[in-house]
């Protein structure tokens, strides 16, 4: 790029999707299909039970009822269990649910019967009149009960263990045994959930005349949903279209697919020959979507007199809920990303992924990293406390240094590839966060606060996030004959601003004004190959794929323009949508004209296209109009497939104040320094960080899924599950580093999940610093802190 253009890569421009979303012109799944039949489900009220009988007769007279389906109505592959999406050799006992429960239910909320009716009100009326007779079975609730295994979730899964996996680099136990100092920690993280403001939703239209199916789903993986629907419904894939329209948040929960509803709704639409729609309500989302985070951890760390780790031995018990549709990605991520920016010495990690009679556990923003970060950062703080060292000093002594990059941990990451960090400057990040939060000045602030009878503490937490996992994404770029540019990529959007960020990539690569670029995502009609939106991968994967496509288009445009201008392509540049000879703006041709010339025509529809018709062109009569190896049109498709993940990093610091009387916890400051390589749009990246931090604060202080001993989720509403409002989220102070990734042409690392990862760790550290009490369980409420104070009399020494 020879000239900065407005909206180019790196510019913090306003989002192009916003005027639409701000005026009520967004299109979310429930905004489609106003005339469609609507679905309600009968869901299990029991955590664990046998289904003895389903009696629908009471519902049959409901005016407006169209159909009721139970498992016995399902046919073919619709009647088979849903797939294990990510098989793994260690997942020896993977289990998935049926689209409608067959004989047994394994969590409250599991779908038992499906009702289709004129509208949702009527469907719920009928659902309420269906009588299901259950034989309750003893439920397994909580990790301790799952581990004890006196009761089993699945009778054919011994010990409730879905998977046991060990990874080891060096002899950690021997290293710890020989270490001068050893600490042991028992840690716990409770469940939370993605909880997007829009729940799931599926709307299906079957065109019997065309023998084709169109499905709209609030999914993070429309292309894969398409494959799943085609396979389950035995349809040719090219007769199925799946579109993720505007989607009201995702945060991981909708990367899982196919959900039962994504199969059942199109199945019913075909069977009934009518449009069918299901819109998840909030309670359904709590009890039948997915949760995450719940883990117990036991850590043994051996270290030297300077606080350097010599050996680290980590045991994790991971609650995977009732089924394992997403395999064991979450505990694998915990057990690898736990290492953060540190060299652990010898490392051994073992996890059990355990069944419980609760909602399935699948990735929620961070996807196992917050738990890993909590484990490692609590360990760093414990080492510092044991040796009487500053917490930043211990961290710095254990950092991987910039000259050690790329750094191979000798482990296998969640993508099946080696855990090799590509780049990062952790000492520089630490210097920035210390400066931003005023680490070295904090003791003066503490003394001042103490003099006022106030109790304050400071904490720090560091993370490294593997982002941009493969296998690939693709992009398609086309210059239309009016000079506008259309772009498509298969992965989906749930608020990340892809219509802006990807347009910035194209504007930069092609040299066109950004307002001429339109981006479509997650629509299988527009791009057919894709993986999905997860693991902070969209900017890395689709960003680079679209850039690759745009570069091909640019090359072709320069070639065609060079012929037209009788110039050398190397002497040309594209500025503001016009190809011109460098330094000679008079010799130029608009991209719109290049697009016309790229496509030899027989028929013309306007003045512009007349130039490409067969009697208008002066092409060589002895050559074919489209040269061998060339293709008509100014368009190209590109793909990006990385050898392995690229690793972003960051550090958060927080200052908290705890009330000496009430134990209320207030975050006074929250600082973030992060490095996600090249920034496409700094404003969007900042927004991602703000949102991630809010979820981190929620997970640290407020959010937990409260199950009783019978497996009833007691807080399945927004009234009782405490998501932070504006009054609970601190102002986030940010600073950036940009260490470009050497793995991709744009140098991008992912940014989407980073903000949430250190939340529990940094708040726990700050509370511990304020109180002088070890904080080993998160989230923590004022009541819990109050009780901890009484259990730790030493804390009373502080004001």
């Amino acid at each position: 790029m020879s000239t900065r253009i407005p909206g180019a890569l790196g510019e913090p421009i306003a989002r192009r999707e916003d005027p639409r979303l701000l005026t009520g012109r967004g299109r979310y799944v429930d905004d489609f299909g106003q005339q469609a039949l609507e679905v309600a489900f009968v869901r299990s009220p029991h955590a664990h039970a046998r289904i003895l009988d389903i009696d629908v007769t009471g519902a049959l007279d409901v005016d407006g009822l169209v159909a009721i389906y139970t498992y016995d109505d399902l046919e073919g592959r619709v009647a088979e269990p849903l797939p294990v999406l990510i098989p793994h050799p260690a997942l020896t006992h993977g289990r998935t649910q049926y689209a409608l429960a067959k004989d047994e239910v394994n969590h409250v909320g599991e779908a038992v019967a499906m009702v289709v009716a004129a509208d949702r009100y009527v469907a719920e009326d009928a659902a309420g009149l269906i009588r299901v007779e259950y034989q309750p079975l003893p439920p397994v609730v909580g990790i301790e009960a799952a581990r004890e295994a006196s009761t089993l979730v699945h009778q054919d899964v011994p010990g409730n263990v879905a998977a046991n996996m060990v990874q080891e680099q060096g002899d950690a136990r021997a290293a710890i045994a020989a270490a001068p100092h050893v600490i042991e920690l028992d840690l716990a993280i409770e469940r939370s959930a993605s909880t997007p403001l829009e729940g799931k939703g599926v709307y299906a239209r079957w065109d019997a005349d065309d023998a084709s199916l169109r499905v709209y789903s609030a999914t993070q993986a429309s292309t894969s949903v398409r494959s799943a629907i085609a396979a389950k419904l035995d349809l040719p894939p090219d007769r199925v279209e799946v579109i993720a329209p505007d989607v009201g948040g995702g945060f991981g929960v909708t990367i899982v697919h196919p959900w039962p509803e994504e199969i059942l709704v199109p199945w019913a639409a075909i069977r009934l020959g009518q449009e069918v729609k299901w819109t998840e309500d909030r309670r359904e989302h709590f009890v039948s979507a997915a949760h995450e985070r719940g883990q117990l951890q036991h850590i043994t760390a051996g270290f030297d007199d300077d606080g350097r780790l010599l050996g680290l031995d980590v045991r994790i018990w991971h609650d995977n809920g009732a089924y394992t549709p997403y395999g064991i990605v979450v505990p694998i991520v915990t057990s690898t990303q736990l290492l953060g920016p540190y060299k652990p010495g010898a490392y051994r990690v073992e996890f059990d992924s355990l069944y419980t009679n609760t909602v399935t556990v699948t990735p929620y923003r961070g996807a196992g990293r917050p738990q890993g970060c909590f484990a490692m950062e609590r360990t760093m703080d414990a080492i510092a406390a044991r040796l009487g060292l500053d917490r930043t000093v211990v961290r710095e002594r254990n950092f991987i240094q910039p000259d050690e990059m790329p750094y191979d941990h000798g482990l296998i990451f969640q993508d099946g590839r080696p855990l090799i960090y590509d780049s990062g400057d952790y000492p520089a990040t630490l210097a920035k966060i210390k400066k931003l939060v005023g680490w070295d000045e904090f003791e003066a602030f503490r003394e001042q606060a103490q003099a006022e009878g106030r109790r304050v503490g400071i904490g720090l937490a560091c993370y490294v996030e593997g982002t941009g996992v493969g296998p690939y994404e693709g992009g398609w770029v086309k210059v239309e004959t009016d000079g506008s540019v259309v772009v498509a990529t298969g992965l989906t959007t749930q608020g990340q601003g892809h219509q802006t960020a990807f347009a910035q990539v194209v504007a930069s690569e092609l040299g066109v004004p950004i307002d001429r670029v339109t981006v479509v995502t997650g629509d299988t009609r527009r791009f057919r190959y894709a993986v999905g939106t997860f693991a902070s991968r969209a900017a890395v994967m689709s960003g680079n794929a679209i850039a690759a496509a745009a570069r091909k288009v640019r090359q072709k445009a320069l070639r065609i323009a060079a012929e037209a201008l009788e110039a050398d392509p190397g002497d040309l540049e594209i500025l503001d949508g016009v190809v011109q000879v460098k330094g000679a703006p008079g010799a130029s041709i608009p991209l719109s004209t290049v697009a016309v010339l790229s496509n030899p025509l027989r028929y013309a529809f306007d003045e512009e296209t007349k130039r490409a018709t067969q009697f208008a062109t002066v092409a060589d009569p002895d050559k074919p109009p489209v040269a061998e190896g060339d293709e008509p049109g100014l368009e190209a498709t590109g793909y990006y497939s990385p050898p392995r993940s690229t690793f972003a990093n960051g550090m958060h610091a927080a200052i908290v104040e705890t009330d000496p009387a009430t134990a209320e916890i207030k975050i006074l400051r929250y600082c973030v320094v992060h490095d996600c390589g090249t920034l496409i749009n700094p404003r969007i990246v900042e927004g991602q960080i703000h949102g991630g931090v809010a979820q981190g604060v929620g997970g640290a202080l407020y959010e937990r899924m409260v199950y009783d001993q019978d497996g009833q989720l007691l807080n399945a509403s927004f009234m009782d599950f405490l998501m932070p409002y504006a009054t609970e989220v601190p102002v986030v102070e940010t600073d950036h580093l940009q260490t470009p990734s050497p793995l991709n042409p744009l140098g991008i690392k992912g940014a989407g999940e980073a903000g949430v990862i250190p939340g529990a760790a940094v708040i726990a550290a700050a509370i511990e610093d304020a109180e002088g009490i070890p904080i080993i369980r998160m989230p923590i409420s004022p009541s819990e802190l109050y009780e901890l104070r009484h259990a730790h009399p030493a804390s009373k020494e502080r004001p």
Partner: protein, 164 residues
């Protein structure tokens, strides 16, 4: 089918009417009977605020109201918060400038809430702006840029008033 009742409302300045069952929520009435889908439903129990509309100028949760119970009222939805269809009012313009939205699902409720708030509080402090939006849930933004949007919207409104 249950008995139908005629509901007549002025929605965004336009008289609208439909025959609906007594139990039809105002949110569903707007979305599905009038096909004004800009109003979103996030929880259906009055906590998230995504469905907030202005009823005779006051912000109310349309998921907690029956359409029949506001018969005759004047309603403003997100579609009516701009000077003309598709154009941005000051609150919407502020959200655009301050990156006050990500997925956009909660946004209509924030925009209507802030629109009503600024009518009575044209010059809020940052702390007041934060409390003004403290009844609405957003899962994307962390609220920081929404607080900034409230302040910017107030500024835009003042500028517009000064220009008259």
């Amino acid at each position: 089918m249950s008995e139908l009742h005629t509901v007549e409302l002025i929605v965004n300045g336009v008289p609208r009417t439909a025959d609906v069952p007594a139990r039809r929520l105002l949110s569903d009435f707007l979305r599905h009977d009038l096909e004004l889908t800009g109003t979103h439903v996030g929880c259906e129990h009055g906590v998230c605020g995504a469905c907030t509309v202005l009823v005779d100028g006051d912000p109310m949760r349309s998921c907690l109201l029956f359409a029949v119970s506001v018969n005759g009222a004047s309603i403003t939805t997100i579609e009516g918060c701009g000077p003309a269809t598709g154009e941005l009012g000051p609150v919407q313009q502020a959200f655009l400038e301050c990156h006050g939205l990500q997925c956009g699902f909660c946004t209509p409720g924030f925009v209507t809430t802030i629109t009503a708030y600024l009518e009575e509080n044209p010059d809020p402090t940052e702390d007041e702006a934060r409390h003004a939006i403290a009844g609405n849930l957003c899962r994307c933004t962390g609220y920081q840029n929404i607080v900034a949007s409230v302040l910017r919207a107030a500024e835009l409104k003042r500028e517009a008033t000064a220009a008259i």
